[in-house]
């Protein structure tokens, strides 16, 4: 059965469409016959409580129970999910549905002269339907939502409030209403019901075409996405390996420069050259570390432990850490925070790194002698991005840039960017990019805005304790 599920036949779009059309047709006839058959049953066979119907209903109940149990069991033994558990369950479900449809048809079919054809239709359709349904359920459980759940896809691509979505909904609902009004099953106006069924079949066909179109788009996207992930992973691995390989010779360079500096050399020119070597080799070290971190953070190749963090406390801690470096540049830090403590959910080490990068930037790029503002407050996050969350804690850092900012806020958070493009300072140009990637991973956001020479970074935390 699982082989069948993974076969091309079941996975092909034509099967999906055909099964949908036929299933819809059949279910319409079933609806008719339930009402008709039930009426007949009550009218004529009230004295016969045992037939096909109770038996198949019982089977169906059992199947649902077994199915639920099997999902539980499969979750317990996650390693061997698909093969072991689901085959008997599927068999039971399919069988019971076939029996059910058979019984319904047998009860009501008497009044339809074409009922043997319909019965065959119903059986085959239910088989195909159940297989598709089972595939859908299994894939839903394994969270391959994108490729399988076409109903969900349909609703997502054509939401009810869009024009095509509304049209489709109107057609479907209209059809159902017509069915219920004009064909309550008590009449056997076959000509009318055939008309209705043709109408619904056209509807279903249109729906299926929409679905299959969506599916193919989604598949393309999925393939591109997988390619992209692989490329990113390859990039990360490459960067990690290369940086290991660079570190070893760099160790020798840095240490031998250290040894040269320890010698007492009189030659001023030589000392100057050594000093340049020293600076540049240390810069290279920073660059390698940042490069590795940036590649890991941007590909999500990093673990995140969300814990409760007192925002006021951690900002105070980082402020204390940078106290002297701020003083050296004659920068005054103005902390502006609420009386009560604000607790956010974040990864403390990542958040620390974010704050280190931001304060490092302030120390490097702020105009000496100016004030730096750090404000913790509750803010309407919809002002920052398109998200709909209401109030969330934000940390806003504002400083005056020493050099004119030539780039927009968004461009500043890209890789290898420094505001003045000169790359004269010791930074790698990755600081803001790393900070942004880390904030994204912690389900927060980092927004950079510039107003003339005013540089503003807003950290927003979407997860927090109110």
């Amino acid at each position: 059965m699982s082989k069948l599920l993974s076969s091309r036949f079941i996975q092909s779009r034509i099967t999906t469409i055909v099964s949908l059309v036929v299933g819809y047709l059949a279910s319409v006839s079933v609806v008719q016959q339930i009402s008709w058959g039930f009426y007949q049953y009550v009218q004529n066979h009230f004295w016969l409580p045992y037939g096909w119907l109770p038996l198949s209903l019982l089977l169906l109940m059992a199947a649902i129970l077994v199915f639920a149990a099997s999902i539980r069991a499969a979750d317990a033994a996650t390693s061997q999910r698909l093969q072991t558990v689901d085959t008997p369950t599927l068999a039971i479900i399919t069988l019971s549905f076939v029996l059910l449809s058979f019984s319904i048809d047998r009860q009501g079919g008497l009044s339809f002269y074409w009922s043997p054809v319909l019965m065959l239709f119903t059986m085959v359709t239910y088989l195909a339907f159940m297989l598709t349904f089972a595939a859908l359920v299994l894939q839903l459980r394994d969270r391959h939502l994108r490729t399988s759940a076409y109903v969900i896809q349909y609703l997502r691509v054509f939401p009810m409030n869009s024009l095509p979505g509304a049209l489709m909904a109107a057609v479907v609902i209209g059809n159902l209403a017509l069915l219920l009004i004009f064909n309550p099953g008590l009449s056997n106006r076959v000509d009318q019901s055939i008309m209705l069924q043709l109408l619904s079949a056209i509807t279903v066909l249109a729906m299926s075409l929409f679905c299959s179109h969506t599916l193919s788009l989604e598949e393309q996207y999925e393939r591109a996405h997988v390619d992209k992930i692989q490329a990113e992973r390859f990039k990360t691995e490459l960067i990690t390996n290369v940086s290991h390989d660079i570190r070893t010779p760099l160790t020798s360079i840095i240490n031998y420069i250290g040894l040269i500096k320890a010698l007492s050399i009189e030659d001023a020119t030589l000392n100057e050259y050594v000093e340049v070597l020293d600076n540049k080799s240390n810069r290279l070290k920073v660059l390698i570390d940042d490069l590795m971190e940036a590649s890991k953070a941007s590909t999500g190749n990093i673990s995140v432990n969300l814990e409760e963090i007192d925002l006021t406390e951690i900002v105070g801690q980082i402020a204390g850490e940078f106290d002297e470096r701020l003083e050296e540049r004659s920068l005054t830090l103005v902390l502006n925070q609420p009386e009560h403590h604000i607790v956010v959910h974040a990864d403390s080490r990542h958040l620390w790194r974010v704050l280190e990068n931001l304060f490092g930037n302030i120390v490097k790029y702020a105009l000496p002698g100016t004030r730096v503002f750090a404000e913790i407050t509750l803010h309407d996050s919809s002002l920052l991005s398109s998200s709909t969350a209401a109030l969330c804690p934000v940390l806003i850092l504002r400083n005056t840039s020493e050099t004119p900012l030539e780039l927009s806020g968004d461009a500043l958070t890209d890789q290898f960017i420094q505001g003045d493009r000169s790359r004269q300072t010791e930074g790698s140009g990755l600081g803001l990019y790393i900070a942004k990637s880390l904030m994204d991973m912690m389900e927060g956001s980092l927004t950079v805005r510039t107003y003339g020479d005013l540089f503003e970074v807003v950290l927003a935390f979407n997860r927090w304790r109110a």
């Binding site: 760099l250 160790t251 963090i309 801690q317 402020a319 902390l335």
Partner: protein, 284 residues
């Protein structure tokens, strides 16, 4: 005492630079160029005590190497008379040919409790944790700061000496003078705070602290492993109205760290718990 340090790295330049630094500090230095040489050197010390069950396996590895690289198995580089010289500390690279540093450390740990310091280009946390779990006493990343390396070597040797590792065969820690003398002495690792004398020593050298710094450190050391928030520290130590408490406390904590830690950015004793507070770690 004249300590002998075994340095092990496949990069000869790094070996040379390590040797230069270490001999300048007065240590004896021996070299090994891969993990297997280091393991052999350590096991050559006390062959009668090794009881080494993996000897055959080791021989197999040697043969493998010999056949793969088509070179003769290197004879142990150490003649029998120097084989008795004990090694007091090993500095091990991780990525090495023949036998990598992690496996070498595991093998060394089977017979010896000599301190092992990893010196590796692998800088990720997972590598660090692996190294420390596999028998490493410390982990330094390349490129390294020579002063930090020397300080860590010194600290590791001191711990080794205090725990009695210097006398082979004796499992008892040696008696030492820094045993807490009174109830008012608090110790973690090499950091001792004597509340009677109002004195803090690190490795028997006095640390100069301001009154505030001393009081903060005393609070943390009398309650080791307990995390104090900045507000709690402020309320206990200061007697003035609070103003920007987290930042004020953080500045003082950083000053203390700069005085008592080998590398203030990677503190051993006084840890910052980000977004929560501070604590002093209890070390043996």
């Amino acid at each position: 005492m004249n300590y002998t340090i075994l340095i092990c790295d496949d990069d000869k330049d790094i070996l040379a630079v390590l040797e230069t630094y270490l001999t300048q500090e007065g240590y004896q230095v021996e070299r090994a160029e891969n993990g297997l040489q280091a393991v052999e050197r350590i096991q050559a010390i006390r062959p009668e005590l090794t009881g080494y069950s993996d000897y055959e396996e080791l021989a197999v590895i040697e043969q493998d190497v010999a056949s793969k690289q088509d070179v003769r198995v290197q004879q142990p580089a150490y003649p029998s008379e120097t084989a008795a010289t004990p090694i007091h500390l090993v500095i091990l690279d991780i990525m090495m040919p023949v036998l990598d540093g992690i496996q070498a450390a595991v093998r060394i740990r089977q017979t010896s409790n000599v301190p092992i310091i990893f010196l590796s280009a692998k800088a990720e946390d997972t590598d660090r944790i692996l190294g420390l779990n596999m028998g490493g006493d410390d982990y330094i990343t390349k490129p390294f700061n020579p002063l930090e390396l020397l300080a860590r070597v010194k600290a590791a040797l001191r711990r080794y000496a205090r725990l009695g590792g210097m006398q082979p065969g004796s499992d008892q820690p040696a008696d030492h003078a820094e045993q807490p003398a009174s109830a008012n002495t608090y110790q973690t690792g090499d950091l001792v705070l004597n509340d009677d004398l109002k004195r803090v020593t690190l490795d028997d050298q006095e640390v100069t602290l301001t009154a505030l710094e001393y009081n903060i450190l005393r609070l943390l050391m009398t309650n080791m492993e307990r995390v104090f928030t900045s507000t709690q520290i402020y309320e206990t130590v200061w007697d003035e109205p609070a103003f920007q408490v987290p930042k004020t406390v953080s500045v003082h904590i950083r000053h203390i760290r700069e005085k008592i830690e080998i590398n203030p950015k990677e503190p051993q004793y006084l840890k910052v718990i980000y977004g929560l507070g501070y604590k002093v770690v209890k070390l043996s």
